[in-house]
């Protein structure tokens, strides 16, 4: 089924494309815009992007499969990305990740993003978020939370539950 891109989003995408001397340059920005809107990048969305940028679908698929921030399956409403890398690990980010998984009934050993059955939360480990001075850090959707204690993590979950 072809994808329906709202006209406002299409206008935004056209404005993004106009920023570059070559259309293809806008690919990553366009994919961000589409993923923000649709929640993930389904095959028909990628085909739409390819057509818009005068590319082949493979040119889009190879980006989606390379860049860690792009996804082909939806995630929960609250996407928690916990920093896995050294400074955060030294400050307890792995305990933080375990705690979140336990609270949400997720498998902390599983590879990649884990989503709760109700589709509310996704938890995953990510690489360095450039917040090493205020470790451990995690992102909840677009917001970065710094120096997160286990109690603060629980409070964040409660806040999301209420929201």
């Amino acid at each position: 089924m072809p994808v329906t891109v709202p006209s406002a989003l299409e206008a935004q995408i056209e404005e993004l494309i106009a920023r570059y001397p070559q259309k293809r340059s806008a690919a990553v920005m366009v994919l961000h815009a589409l993923q923000d809107h649709f929640g993930c990048l389904a095959p028909e969305t990628m085909e739409w992007a390819a057509a818009k940028l005068e590319l082949q679908p493979i040119n889009i698929l190879e980006l989606v499969t390379f860049y860690p921030m792009f996804r082909q399956a939806p995630v929960g409403r609250f996407h928690l990305k916990v920093c896995r890398t050294l400074s955060c690990a030294l400050a307890g980010s792995h305990e933080l990740h375990r705690h979140l998984c336990e609270k949400l009934g997720l498998d902390r050993h599983a590879h990649g993003p884990q989503t709760t059955p109700d589709g509310k939360f996704t938890v995953e480990f990510v690489e360095c978020l450039a917040g090493c001075g205020t470790a451990p850090v995690l992102m909840c959707n677009d917001a970065c939370h710094e120096g997160v204690t286990l109690a603060q993590a629980e409070a964040l979950l409660a806040q999301c539950e209420g929201g």
């Binding site: 001397p21 961000h32 390379f66 860049y67 921030m69 050294l86 450039a130 090493c132």
Partner: protein, 470 residues
């Protein structure tokens, strides 16, 4: 007494300082740009006029400024290599892909003082006849990208960007371009591929030096956020004045990110080489030492790619003596002046200015496993030694942290790490994933061997117990 010297960070943590244009203008913002745009051609020694752009570039050369992204390459030299005769447009790209683990300095400027970055970027663009520039910001800085977009809109509205900037006749457009979570985009040619809408596979050099064949195969300058901010201060002070800050060949100020087992983690600005590694870790003005009853075990001095130092390690460094002649000195690593030259001479690097401190509670096997997991995840996969090698390293370290180690794993790790770098890969990622393994395994070898032997002994005991049970 060692202390901070705040040039780039001068305002951004002051109470009431906000990232909007009004606040920046109240703090003398865009004053340097106004002055630069008002420069007139000056007669040169041969009677030929020197253009304002050339004058500005000369100041940067005089300043001795070295790139703050990681390689420490001379900014003036980088600019001088730009092919200005090709007839093609020249592009400037700001590398705001801050991703080297341990580094969080550029983020401070982007989030709290975006107009400082823009002023440096506009000055650098003007000096290099650039009319289109991009800020390549890492995808996870979602709010940072919004802040920059807002700052760009404000600057455009006030005539600091766009057509005929401040009535000078100079046109410049700048756009924010977001990445999507790949470390390799910080490598400048990988960044350019990404900006062209492709996978960020680094390019082969030669021939693809950005200064000649960069974005869209046009001459391109790629400068780090902090470097562009420094350019603003070079032009404010004049190159010669700026060069008085810091130490010879390591001029100016530099942002340092301190993290790990330390009392006061955070970002600090120092005159390059005026503060030692030990002072950065222990002085109350900086890290203020380790937590009570902890002892220093190791230091990662320039992002996780840098070779690790062991506490108490002595390094031989050549430094100019009192009479100016080079003398070989033996220093404790803590006595090393924190600058590009000394850290390189000591066998490591100051890299992105990120220091990670490890105390005696650290298990070096786990710490290295963490680092190698990062590189295995981030290798772009283009070159076989790096793609396979980074994974083998991570796998071997995984088994050493999960009870399946072998006594010979230390040797095995060293052998693989030795097989990746040294011109076998297209970009420096090969070096970056090998250096921490080479240095950590060499300097803490007993821990690695003991871990492997312990795992073997447990397996043997378990097997024997199984035999007896039969």
């Amino acid at each position: 007494m060692p202390s901070e010297y705040r040039l780039i960070l001068k305002h951004l943590d002051q109470p009431g300082y906000t990232p909007d244009l009004d606040c920046y203008l109240r703090h003398d913002g865009y004053h340097v740009l106004r002055q630069a745009l008002a420069l007139a051609p000056r007669p040169g020694p041969d009677g030929k006029p020197i253009s304002p752009q050339e004058q500005l570039r000369h100041e940067v050369t005089l300043s001795g400024l070295r790139g703050r992204g990681g390689a420490g390459f001379s900014c003036g030299l980088k600019w001088s290599l730009v092919d200005r005769k090709s007839g093609k447009p020249i592009y400037l790209v700001c590398n705001a892909d801050e991703s080297e683990p341990g580094t969080f300095k550029d983020r401070q400027v982007i989030y709290k003082d975006p107009h400082q970055l823009l002023e440096g970027l506009i000055l650098s663009s003007y000096a290099n006849d650039v009319h289109l520039a991009y800020i390549y910001i890492r995808g996870e800085f979602v709010e940072g990208a919004r802040i920059l977009e807002r700052a760009l809109a404000e600057a455009r509205a006030q005539g600091f960007l766009g057509r005929n900037i401040l009535g000078s006749g100079y046109d410049l457009e700048v756009y924010v371009h977001r990445g999507a979570g790949a470390y390799i985009c910080g490598e400048e040619t990988g960044l350019l591929e990404s900006l062209e809408g492709k996978r960020p596979y680094p390019r082969v050099k030669p021939p693809y030096f950005p200064a000649v064949l960069g974005l869209y195969l046009c001459p391109t300058i790629v400068n780090n956020v902090e470097t562009l901010c420094a350019v603003k201060h070079v032009m404010a002070l004049g190159g010669a004045e700026y060069a008085k800050l810091g130490t010879p060949n390591n001029t100016g100020t530099r942002l340092v990110s301190l993290s790990g087992h330390i009392q006061r983690p955070g970002y600090y600005e120092i005159e390059v080489g005026k503060v030692t590694l030990g002072e950065l870790i222990f002085d109350p003005a900086f890290g203020n030492g380790l937590r009570p009853s902890r002892r220093l075990k190791a230091i990662i001095p320039g992002g996780v790619s840098a070779k690790i130092f062991k506490a108490g390690e002595k390094v031989k460094v050549k430094r100019p003596g009192p009479d100016g002649r080079e003398l070989e000195q033996t220093l404790d690593v803590l006595e090393l002046p924190y600058d590009f030259t000394s850290l390189t001479a000591a066998g490591s690097m100051s890299g992105s200015g990120a220091i990670i401190v490890l105390d005696d509670t650290t298990d070096m096997v786990s710490a290295l496993a963490n680092i190698s997991e990062f590189f295995a995840h981030e290798s772009c996969g283009q070159c076989t030694p790096c793609r396979e090698g980074s994974l083998w390293l991570a796998k071997a370290l995984r088994r050493l942290t999960q009870g399946a180690g072998r006594a010979q794993d230390a040797e095995y790790l060293a052998r693989i790490a030795d097989s990746i770098p040294g011109g076998r890969t297209i970009c420096a990622f090969g070096e970056a994933c090998s250096w921490p393994v080479q240095s950590t395994v060499a300097k803490f070898k007993d821990e690695f061997v003991a871990r492997g032997k312990d795992h073997e002994a447990r397996r043997t005991a378990a097997a024997q117990a199984g035999e007896t049970a039969k």
